[in-house]
Point group: C2
Chain length 325, copies 2
């Protein structure tokens, strides 16, 4: 997909070449529209196929040898308004018809980590990009500089696997809510947003030190920093977090104590602020344990997501009925 | 700020009027640049000032009667490249100098809830909007339709109070990471992103039923739905969540049990996946308790944020040293 030949090629120009190649391969003859559909349906495979292997177009029942030229033609085919040919549900079609594409046919597209809420990156999407994202379930953008579709991860393999797509009230902005396969930024950073204005303002530090983290993940980051300090040195007056990190017995007794205190806010009908405060205590102390076990909060979120999406009607039922009965 | 007279007024056009008014009020004469600065420094006040009260420009030592015309002129003044006059730290100036403003002088600006990670809304910001946001700590955008700055909340009072601003690696996109005073969407919805493509695809429901929620808040939403079902009806075969909601004794015994099991993954050196799974159990059961107590996870996050930002070096120290010693 990095090949310059791929840029801005017109389907019409290659139509006869493609038909000849299909004849030569003796595959069932496909219309250009069918090929466009096939391209979308096999997107991840077509992009990941390695030299010497075969590109399988699973939904049309034919396969191609992996000669660069042939793959290129398939990619070209995708330029032909494929959304009209995909079996989009009528309501989704209507939604897309009502999107306020700007004068370049674009909307802002924000990729967000479904588990942590981190904003991974932001690009733009045209209608084809959104349709591709819906069918391939990979965050797909329109590159304004290269004037072509690009699926995040097509070169790095760090795809963003879409769980849902949300449009805003004005229909000129969308969220790709998904799970990234790896760092979203080309710099290797987890997200593209690591330059804090207030960090520059207040600490005059070199930029790039801090990710845009929300509260839970910011606390996790602080705990992990304490852990690395504990591992690097010992000093006479450690912080509370460091004391917990150094003393499993103290940590576990605090977790059990805080869980008990949380329960007592219900049992003894204490006020709401007390419940919030005790829950914060439970979370913080449990997160120190996670740090010791090298478990990320994101891993916990993934467990939660897989568990309650499997049994949305009855979360925990299958798991818990055995343990309590 | 909704007054049409405010739109697109040029500072130069009103310069003589403003000077006359200042003479009439016998206030110290201010340069236009000083007035622009004053406007920025008093932004929240100037926008909130009610009819009949006085608008105090605290940083220039003068006050204005609250006649609409005069307030308007102050707003006009803000159009004159005020960022040059604000005492921005050199590194922030440099950062802003290196931002890739598009051909209209804009970057994409995304407002995100610092506690929940929810993407609240998306607009565009020019340099003035970013400078205003830095000084006022309110998420500020440039309205392309009205060709003017606008601070989210200036009409609704639902400001987004900025904790930090992050630029992306390409310097053409930013996040206003902040705490909203109320619903971010003009429809009254918590965020602008409530139209799910996959909801339309799979359930063919009427759009607008589902917010773009990340894992923790999606689970919270499911638990709250179970709670409303429990309150509305009783049926013979309740889900596990419903059973917990109906039985405080069962719920509290589960919370204590899960906290104990989490501790045992450390004490008995169990594997990481076990720790993640037990932490998910602790979180889920504790969240059922939060639902019973009408405490939102966002409230808990706020407690965490206030606590560890107050004592970033020593989180929990002041709180916990007493309870364990």
């Amino acid at each position: 997909m990095k090949d310059k030949n791929l840029e801005l090629m017109k389907l019409e120009k290659y139509q006869s070449v493609m038909e000849k190649e299909m004849d030569a391969l003796r595959v069932e003859k496909l219309s250009l529209e069918q090929m466009a559909v096939s391209y979308y349906l096999c997107l991840p495979q077509s992009l990941r196929v390695s030299s010497g292997s075969r590109l399988l177009i699973s939904n049309s029942g034919c396969s191609w040898d992996n000669h660069k030229k042939r793959i290129h033609h398939l990619v070209c085919a995708s330029a032909r308004q494929p959304e009209k040919d995909l079996c989009l549900e009528p309501k989704v079609q209507t939604l897309l018809d009502n999107v306020k594409w700007d004068d370049k046919g674009l909307v802002v597209a924000i990729a967000q980590n479904v588990d942590t809420g981190a904003i991974l990156m932001q690009g733009f999407a045209n209608r084809d990009a959104v349709v591709t994202a819906i069918s391939s379930r990979k965050a797909t953008f329109y590159s304004r500089s290269r004037s072509m579709l690009w699926t995040k991860g097509e070169t790095s393999n760090n795809f963003i696997n879409i769980h849902d797509i949300f449009f805003d009230c004005d229909r000129d902005s969308l969220i790709y809510l998904g799970k990234p396969d790896g760092p979203a930024c080309h710099t290797g950073s987890e997200t593209c947003y690591y330059t804090s204005v207030f960090d520059l303002k207040e600490h005059q530090q070199v930029e790039g030190n801090e990710l845009a983290l929300t509260t839970l993940y910011s606390l996790e980051s602080t705990i992990l920093q304490r852990k690395s300090e504990v591992e690097a040195e010992q000093n006479g007056n450690p912080s509370w977090t460091k004391r917990l990190l150094l003393d499993n017995h103290l940590l576990c007794s605090k977790i059990r104590e805080e869980a008990d205190e949380l329960c007592r806010t219900l049992e003894e009908d204490e006020d709401k602020s007390r419940t919030a405060s005790e829950m914060a205590d439970v979370l913080y102390h449990a997160m120190v344990l996670l740090a010791l076990k090298d478990v990320k909060m994101e891993d916990v979120m993934q467990v939660l997501r897989l568990r309650f999406s499997k049994s949305e009607e009855e979360p925990w039922l299958s798991d818990q009925m055995n343990s309590v009965q």
